[in-house]
């Protein structure tokens, strides 16, 4: 799957995007987030306060119970501030 990071999430993780295989046993957005927080200090820092993390799966806003599968584009970012 393709993981994308934006704004301060990108800065904390340290990269804008990466390709990873779907981790074993992960089937939804909530599982993916828990797995992400364990990948290292930058990821842990980025996922520390999930109240300010939004997730989009294949360019659509997703909830923690929404499924993820290999091949998905999953983006992590703060609440939007455009307009």
């Amino acid at each position: 799957m393709e993981l994308l990071y934006f704004a301060w999430l990108r800065e904390k993780v340290g990269i804008a995007s990466e390709s990873v295989p779907l981790p074993d046993g992960i089937a939804d957005v909530g599982g993916l987030l828990t797995w992400m927080a364990d990948r290292g200090p930058g990821y842990a820092e980025a996922m520390k306060d999930l109240s300010v993390v939004r997730v989009a799966v294949n360019q659509e806003f997703a909830h923690s119970t929404d499924p993820v599968k290999d091949g998905d584009e999953v983006a992590f970012f703060p609440p939007v501030t455009g307009g």
Partner: protein, 164 residues
């Protein structure tokens, strides 16, 4: 409806003219232009940088277009959103709506702006004397969007994860 995401500035008059020209069914045209303010959240800013997620903006457009056209009789509409570095006084965003009647044009323009503020994947970073700061989202913008519907289908709901 069209949406354009670009780093270049835009010309409100030329865009309006192109939308409205020759359509004498249009009785009301509303434009909204957002500008970079010199003071934001009480602090002076020297510039602002906008980051965005282009594929998602494109993917969201069809839905927002369908919603706006279900709700209001629009003859034409346009959204332009800039990205990159912008200085105080520069234009950030443009919404134009054209309709036979003024209420539809006003409401649709407000709806599109509320949508942009809460759903469109753009992020602002402000340059202040203390360095660069990411702008925090405002609850008031979510409230503004909530007036248009309950159960907004693509609502960016908070993620709740069971810690285990």
């Amino acid at each position: 409806m069209a949406i354009r995401v670009q780093s270049e500035d835009f010309d409100v008059a030329a865009e309006t003219k192109a939308l409205v020209a020759g359509n004498t069914n249009i009785g009301a045209v509303v434009t909204f232009t957002g500008l970079v303010r010199e003071i934001a959240g009480g602090e002076a800013i020297s510039a602002m940088t906008l980051e965005h997620y282009p594929d998602m903006t494109e993917a969201m457009l069809a839905k927002i277009e369908a919603q706006a056209n279900d709700r209001w009789a629009l003859d034409a509409s346009l959204i332009i959103h800039r990205y990159g570095r912008l200085e105080p006084g520069e234009q950030i965003v443009l919404v134009i709506t054209a309709s036979p009647h003024r209420q539809a044009a006003f409401e649709a323009a407000e709806f599109l702006m509320d949508w942009l503020k809460t759903k469109a994947p753009f992020w602002k970073q402000e340059a202040t004397v203390d360095g660069e700061k990411w702008v925090a989202a405002k609850a008031s913008d979510d409230d503004a969007t909530d007036r248009w519907t309950e159960n907004f289908p693509e609502s960016p709901a908070k993620i709740v994860v069971a810690k285990g």
